[in-house]
């Protein structure tokens, strides 16, 4: 027996009873979503609640400094910034031993820019040699706007997807897809909250990408599902869902794998700036694949779907495909 290409070795037709397992997975998902929601919303402190807010959304300054050839002395840096009345100052290593990241919020009523300049001056006085390789300053007006835009973007994307699926399939499909999207987005928020990955513009970009990919997966399964609905008019809905998912299983696994491989490379080699983005998308692809199978399809089962009843009424005319 040949072992390559692998596609020949994989079972040609799987018969997993996904729908039956959904009874087990659906409550589990529900629980996880609730836990994620709690982690995201607690403590209830605006603007970012349980998430680790980046300066994009809460305003403030991030400085990335290089002290090579000497290693960065984080304690000395912390000490230098004490007494500047900055409130919450974070000093941490970043990438190489001679790099550090300093993050602080603008004190109430002060100018973000002036504060950043004062801090830079203080660091230059105490640490030598020092170079500021990155300076990000976000004022309060801009951070408010960015947050509003980010929330609108996420909401808008989910809404657009609902409309698109509704238009392309049926309302039940749209609801299933949106349920899966909420599931994916909320779980990812949970991940961001629990791991402390910075919630910033990149994170929102990653979330929107996840929405795109989760939808992609869901649409592919739905496509087959719709086709089988027409093909097997007498088959129970649950069996059709199982059949469709099984038929698409190889494709689902292969596509997820290529995505996961690329994202793993990004996570490992992409450097500290892309790390958060990559991890979020990695998680999202896994979750998106899972939710297409265990959330989107079962929601349709729960809701029922209009079929060419009893063969008398003609099936809904096909909008696409042959």
């Amino acid at each position: 027996m040949k072992f390559w290409p692998l596609i020949k070795v994989l079972p040609v037709k799987t018969n997993f009873r996904f729908v039956r397992l959904a009874k087990f997975f659906a409550p589990l998902s529900m629980l996880l979503v609730l836990a994620a929601l709690a982690a995201t919303l607690y403590p209830p402190k605006p603007p970012c609640f349980g998430l680790t807010c980046g300066i994009d959304f809460k305003g403030g300054t991030v400085l990335e400094i290089a002290t090579d050839p000497k290693p960065a002395d984080l304690g000395q840096l912390r000490h230098a910034l004490e007494g500047m009345n900055l409130g919450d100052v974070q000093v941490q290593g970043f990438g190489s031993p001679s790099s550090a990241m300093v993050r602080f919020q603008t004190p109430e009523g002060a100018s973000a820019e002036k504060t950043a300049e004062a801090v830079k001056a203080r660091i230059s006085q105490t640490v030598s040699p020092v170079r500021f390789v990155r300076t990000d300053v976000v004022g309060p007006k801009v951070s408010d706007e960015l947050l509003t835009k980010g929330v609108l973007a996420l909401g808008g994307a989910i809404f657009l997807m609902l409309i698109y699926i509704w238009f392309r399939f049926e309302l039940q499909f749209g609801l299933g897809a949106v349920a899966a999207l909420f599931h994916d987005v909320l779980l990812t928020f949970g991940l961001i909250a629990v791991t402390g990955i910075e919630f910033n513009l990149n994170a929102v970009a990653a979330l929107l990408t996840i929405i795109g990919y989760s939808m992609n997966d869901t649409v592919v399964v739905f496509d087959r599902f719709r086709e089988n609905l027409r093909k097997y008019k007498r088959m129970p809905l649950g069996d059709i869902i199982d059949l469709s998912i099984n038929e698409m299983l190889t494709r689902t696994i292969i596509t997820s794998m290529t995505g996961i491989l690329a994202l793993l490379a990004l996570t490992v080699f992409g450097g500290p700036t892309l790390f958060g983005l990559s991890v979020i998308m990695l998680f999202g692809i896994v979750i998106g694949t899972y939710s297409s199978i265990y959330i989107a399809a079962p929601v349709i089962l729960l809701w029922g779907v209009r079929r060419g009843e009893e063969e008398t009424a003609p099936a809904k005319p096909a909008k696409a495909g042959p």
Binding site: A153, A157, L208, V220, L261, T273
Partner: protein
């Protein structure tokens, strides 16, 4: 579907050539690029500031300051008009953002109103009355002079335009690489300066209002009293950076202003050798300066920049030549910068930094390297995986599709000069990796059809056409989320969205056409009896 139509082959070959042609400049160094003949595309990818290093500065015009300045000027105009027309008034001041004045003689109320109507405000198109102020009567013999709301908007708009003009003039003289200055929204200005420019110097030159005034020092006032809050009427207390006194009490009235300057140059003082800024007045300024200096010999005047005294020299003799020099506490560079600021003129209103993002060039280069390495590793892993799954032939076809896809994306982005950002690189890698999805969908469908008992050619044919609907559906979802990202995202995120969107089109193209042609070609030349993946 499995026929090799000539136009499809042409289209794919053209697209691939296009991709190569526009991608090649990225492999050359700038010198080689500039020596290319004119008809060859020579533009490399337009790297975002996060990749090539540089500064992004978002300024907002302080409209509040603009507003209060307009009100102050209006107050003075009203005072002057009423005084000139010998109308007695009292209680002139700003109440709730409008000017209120009490006319002592009730009979003169209409006269005053008419006088003001002709004298204050400016014409403004598109509002009732055609002027930017309204004058109405109020109880208790009062007149209310208020700006129409549009006046402030027009002001802000004009201020933004003027500011951009002045900033451009200042930066031109700085001699750095041409930064990009654009207006954003109603009252904002974005400055993007690429490369190794010093953001602090840029900020110092851009952000300073540079309002220069010459005010007399009130020699009779005591600094201690003023510091304790007892500033004599008509005077003000201004901090100083001249190195002699911490502050000065000066007359509020600006005798001469920076607008009357025609030139300013950095020089060295002939006696002390220290850096100074020499300046020259226009005719009006020269006359005023001559008058004031001849009347005030032996007294001091303060040269005030943005409400800070930079020098307070004693007037030795009447200065009639219309020129002079500022002997402040300068270094060579600050003298040079001040000269630039004075030549370019003052900003109409203060600018505030709302957002700054500066990335050093070395960090950008690191990011490009990290992106390239992870891209190569990620895509190689995906490619190997595809060959493992589908074998050399079908795996190879998807890899060729991937290459064409990648070339088209890079070529298209180079051609349109769309900005590639660090998140954009991530988007690109992910797009390419998942682009094989289209191949997978096609292959799986073909296997399904074959299993359903169709002949090879029929299976390939219908596998292809049936997978198409799914591919379209799946990719439109990507396009939708990319569109949302583009609309709402800012800066680097927009670049990410753009990369994703271009990727959707090239993916559909390469998956559909490239795969189709290669499969058809294989079928024609080999006449296979079965699919190697079935």
């Amino acid at each position: 579907m499995m026929t090799l139509s000539r136009w499809k082959v042409m289209l794919v070959v053209l697209a691939a050539l296009f991709g190569v042609l526009f991608t090649v400049p990225n492999l050359l160094d700038p010198q080689q690029r500039s020596s290319l003949p004119g008809f060859v595309p020579s533009k490399a990818l337009n790297l975002g500031l996060d990749l090539q290093g540089g500064s992004y500065l978002l300024y907002s015009v302080d409209t509040q300051a603009l507003r209060s300045e307009r009100l102050t000027n209006l107050t003075e105009d009203v005072r002057k008009t009423l005084t000139d027309d010998q109308i007695v008034f009292s209680d002139l001041g700003v109440v709730n953002g409008a000017l209120s004045v009490r006319i002592t003689d009730p009979a003169k109320l209409t006269t005053a109103q008419n006088a003001l109507r002709n004298a204050v405000g400016a014409p403004l198109a598109g509002v009732a009355g055609g002027r930017d102020v309204t004058i109405s009567t109020e109880p208790d013999q009062r007149l209310k002079v208020a700006f129409v709301p549009e006046a402030f908007d027009a002001d802000a708009s004009r201020a933004v335009e003027q500011s951009i003009e002045i900033i451009r003039r200042r930066i031109d003289q700085l001699g750095t690489r041409e930064p990009n200055i654009v207006r954003q929204g109603k009252d904002r200005i974005v400055i993007e300066a690429a490369g190794e420019s010093d953001p602090e110097r840029l900020k110092a030159v851009v952000g300073q209002t540079a309002k220069l005034t010459f005010q007399m020092v009130d020699e009779g006032a005591s600094l201690q009293d003023a510091a304790a809050g007892r500033v004599p009427p008509g005077d003000e207390l201004l901090a100083s950076s001249d190195g002699y006194a911490p502050a000065y009490v000066v007359k509020k009235r600006a005798e001469v202003t920076g607008e009357m300057l025609v030139d300013a140059q950095p020089r060295f003082d002939q006696q002390t050798g220290r850096p100074v800024v020499s300046f020259r007045f226009n005719g009006q300024g020269a006359r005023r300066f001559a008058d004031i200096s001849s009347q005030n010999i032996g007294r001091r005047f303060a040269i005030v920049l943005d409400r800070k005294v930079i020098s307070a020299p004693v007037i030795q003799s009447a200065i009639t030549g219309g020129s002079g020099q500022i002997t402040g506490n300068f270094t060579e560079q600050t003298a040079n910068d001040l000269a630039i600021l004075l030549r370019a003129g003052a900003l109409p209103a203060p600018l505030k930094v709302e957002e700054q993002r500066t990335v050093g060039a070395e960090l950008g280069a690191d990011a490009v390297r990290a992106g390239a390495i992870s891209g190569i590793v990620g895509l190689a892993a995906s490619a190997i995986f595809m060959v493992l799954m589908y074998g050399w032939l079908f795996g190879g076809i998807s890899i060729i599709g991937l290459l064409v896809n990648g070339l088209m994306i890079v070529g298209f982005m180079s051609m349109t000069q769309a900005t590639l950002t660090l998140p954009g690189i991530a988007g690109l890698i992910l797009t390419l990796a998942v682009a094989v999805d289209a191949n997978v969908l096609i292959y799986e469908r073909m296997r399904d059809e074959l299993r359903a008992g169709r002949s090879l050619i029929a299976a390939m044919d219908s596998g292809f056409s049936r997978a198409m609907a799914t591919i379209m559906d799946a990719n439109i979802t990507h396009l939708l989320s990319a569109a949302i990202l583009f609309v709402f995202g800012a800066g680097p995120v927009k670049g990410f969205a753009w990369t994703l969107s271009i990727g959707v089109f090239t993916t559909v193209f390469s998956a559909v056409l490239v795969t189709q042609i290669l499969l058809a070609w294989w079928f024609r030349t080999r006449r296979p009896k079965t699919l190697p993946i079935a």
